[in-house]
């Protein structure tokens, strides 16, 4: 040990010198006065949030927002009578994409609690089933949902991948599967008789957003980056074909769920110098990707969809999230809903919270109207026709909404 001490000390010195470099430029980059301790400096990202901009159709053209004054109220007239029944909720409640599942669960709880408080004679329970958003986990969870005889309707599954994996199980059991968030277009092509989607699918979202990017924002060159989920792959295909010539295949890239560094992808995009980068995937990867693009000096607009449209995206990416366009088939939360949600759960409502609220309300309406079993609830939803907070709900024979529109949001 003795012989090496001076050397070690020397090494430490050079190390400090090396770290100096880091310090230098962090100072150069900002005119802020250096603060003495680790307290916040000015221009924090805390002010940024995801704001609704415009509702669009498949041609990318503006459609006025729906009127929420006729929206169904879960409380009803307070005189409903029913035996105690259960609505199940299945989705990611833990794991890297848990925020989306929790948004849905809380939205549903808000509706059910309002219903139960108003209707003493009809108490409905929400049972949570955590799939972690993972198709493999979902296949383990699905049998216990089906096996629970008190469950007459399911809100979920939340993600497309898990829905594809377990949809048949619910269909076989005749259990209503009402999803507030699974947007892969192929899900309705499985011949399931119980599957209804409470929002537009990616086949609507892709072309709408692509048209908006090309026609309204005038982007001529877009790099489409996708993750390896069913959702990301499906959405990227839709966007790419919708963009047509504007999609540059030379800088199209694929990443994997769980990736946190995107060096090669960022380099390729930087060299290509596009007008915009479209990311088809979830916020867990989207946030670090946006940061790394910004840090590498890429100035292209960051565009992504509902998987990234989450407050966590802004929290993780900070100022790199600024001005990012985030589309979503989900509608913005009306003021009263947002306030009630915040008061109850002490967090802001997020993507799909409003949809979950609307869809849970539809199931509650069914229960209030005397539906007692799984088959009855499927029939009720099949013929449902009414307004919710987010939009008008009426399904076609395949389980898609008759009229489905997309919202564009921006981080501001």
């Amino acid at each position: 040990m003795r012989s090496s001490t001076p050397k070690m000390a020397g090494t430490a010195l050079v190390l400090v010198a090396g770290l100096m470099l880091a310090g230098c430029s962090s100072k150069d980059d900002s005119g802020d006065t250096p603060t003495a301790s680790g307290s916040e400096s000015a221009a924090a990202s805390g002010d940024l949030s995801i704001q609704p901009v415009v509702q669009i159709d498949t041609k990318g053209e503006e459609v006025p927002a729906a009127d929420t004054s006729n929206a169904a109220d879960p409380a009803g007239d307070g005189s409903a009578k029913c035996d105690p029944v259960t609505i199940a909720m299945a989705g990611a409640l833990t794991g890297p994409n848990a925020a989306l599942g929790i948004n849905i669960l809380n939205g549903a709880k808000l509706a059910v609690d309002a219903h139960n408080a108003a209707n003493a004679g009809c108490q409905v329970t929400v049972k949570e089933f955590d799939t972690e958003g993972d198709p493999q986990k979902a296949t383990q969870v699905a049998p216990s949902i089906v096996g629970d005889k008190s469950v007459i309707g399911l809100l979920g599954p939340a993600f497309s991948g898990e829905t594809a994996a377990v949809g048949q199980v619910f269909s076989d059991a005749g259990l209503l599967s009402l999803t507030a968030s699974a947007t892969n277009p192929d899900l309705v092509k499985n011949g399931w008789t119980n599957f209804y989607r409470g929002l537009a699918n990616d086949a609507v979202q892709g072309p709408s957003v692509a048209a908006y990017l090309v026609n309204t924002l005038k982007f001529a060159k877009v790099c489409v980056v996708q993750d390896d989920s069913d959702y990301g792959v499906g959405l990227a295909a839709q966007i790419t074909s919708g963009l047509g010539d504007a999609a540059d295949s030379s800088c199209a890239a694929k990443v994997k769920a769980g990736d946190k560094d995107f060096s090669a992808t960022v380099q390729i995009i930087k060299t290509a110098a596009p007008d915009a980068v479209f990311y088809a995937g979830y916020y867990a990867e989207g946030a670090p990707f946006a940061s790394q693009l910004k840090e590498a000096g890429v100035t292209a607009a960051f565009v992504s969809a509902d998987g990234t449209n989450d407050p966590q995206f802004v929290k993780q990416a900070g100022s790199a999230a600024k001005d990012a366009y985030l589309s979503c088939p989900c509608g913005p939360a009306p003021e009263k809903f947002a306030a009630d949600y915040k008061a109850k759960f002490n967090i802001d409502s997020g993507v799909y919270s409003v949809e979950a609220y609307d869809l849970a309300t539809i199931m509650l309406k069914g229960i209030d109207s005397g539906v007692k079993d799984r088959a009855g609830l499927v029939d009720f939803v099949k013929s449902y026709d009414g307004d919710g907070l987010a939009r008008h709900y009426k399904w076609d024979a395949t389980g898609e909404l008759a009229s489905a529109l997309i919202w564009i949001y921006q981080v501001k």
Partner: protein, 345 residues
């Protein structure tokens, strides 16, 4: 489409694309980025290599030691008064350096402590009973799960949801990457310079330590011939503890450097793939060989980025492991051979 297609057509039709242009366009930028990741792999690889050299044990829990280091440096920054947010803090140069060093020390303390603790709790009892090496391996994998799930489920309860859990920690950034100079058109940022220099210095210091000091001599002696070393008065238990400690300290330092590059990578599952890569780097260079770990790390880091540009960005991990397999087919002992015991200085 004709019924007969050449192999080239099949590949070109989307199975695998060879995008040589992309590799050529981005060659230098990828090289620099690859060296940055490579030097982090190298630091972590030293932990695998030292333990293997001394115990002939592949300590698969080392990836979790690295992950704990990320939380260690993160916790240290929180203790220093930083609250997580999306944007970088702007301190003066001196303060930033001080904070970074303190964060590194935080990571090193946690990783080093965890590595020594792991050795005490998981491996020493087995050694006392003379368990076969397969049992050590399974214990290592088990310990890896235990540590991951601890951070996933228990740590949030202990820290009032400040640390751990299933979502990545919101970043605490101290340094804004900014371009310092260009190499053949590829921009080099301060973060990359700091990572490479710090990692190389630490690797160099470790190599000198093992080569020149009394403790280092002990490590080499035990690696070469445990029985004789014991007869010569070297305490094997102490050497083993020291080995785990050095590996842990380097993993903690690597964790801080990695977080500098990937600020939102602090998550319970964040060590696993990186650990496997570092292990591959150790094997690639020649496991048990310190210089091999360094060489293997740098090579792997660069190769996987070249591979990504060439085959498509989703092939990163595949490229890393295919390179490993190819090298081992030609040189089963790795590029520099297994030689901690013989330790050419």
């Amino acid at each position: 489409m004709s019924a007969v297609m050449s192999a080239g057509q099949v590949l070109a039709d989307g199975v695998i694309d060879f995008n040589v242009q992309s590799l050529v366009d981005n060659f230098w930028a990828l090289t620099i980025d690859g060296l940055t990741y490579g030097s982090i792999y190298a630091l972590v690889a030293v932990g695998y290599t030292l333990v293997y050299g001394v115990l002939r044990l592949i300590n698969f829990a080392h990836s979790e030691i690295f992950m704990l280091g990320m939380f260690g440096q993160y916790a240290m920054l929180m203790l220093l008064g930083f609250t997580p947010r999306g944007d970088a803090y702007t301190q003066g140069t001196i303060m930033t350096v001080t904070y970074l060093l303190l964060a590194m020390i935080g990571g090193m303390i946690v990783s080093g402590g965890a590595a020594v603790g792991l050795e005490r709790v998981a491996y020493r009892p087995l050694r006392k009973r003379g368990a076969p090496s397969l049992v050590f391996l399974i214990t290592a994998i088990g310990a890896s799960f235990v540590i991951q799930e601890f951070v996933h489920f228990v740590l949030p309860k202990l820290t009032n949801n400040e640390l751990g859990g299933s979502i990545a920690q919101q970043p605490i950034r101290l340094v804004v990457p900014s371009v310092q100079f260009s190499v053949f058109g590829a921009e080099v940022t301060n973060v990359e310079i700091v990572i490479v220099i710090a990692a190389l210095l630490l690797a160099f210091a470790t190599e000198r330590f093992v080569t020149l000091t009394k403790f280092g001599r002990g490590i080499r002696a035990v690696a070469q011939d445990p029985v004789t070393a014991t007869l010569m008065g070297v305490s094997r238990e102490r050497v083993i503890m020291l080995t785990f400690l050095i590996g842990g300290l380097l993993a903690g330092a690597a964790a801080m450097l990695y977080t500098l590059r990937v600020p939102s990578g602090v998550i319970y599952s964040g060590g696993f793939i990186l650990g496997i890569k570092a292990f591959s780097a150790a094997v690639l260079g020649g496991i048990g060989n310190l210089r091999g770990a360094l060489l293997g790390g740098l090579l792997l880091g660069v190769m996987e980025l070249y591979g990504q540009a060439l085959f498509g960005t989703e092939w990163r991990d595949v490229v890393a492991f295919v390179v490993l397999i190819l090298v081992l087919m030609i040189r089963p002992t790795g590029i520099l051979g297994e030689s901690l015991g013989r330790a050419r200085a």
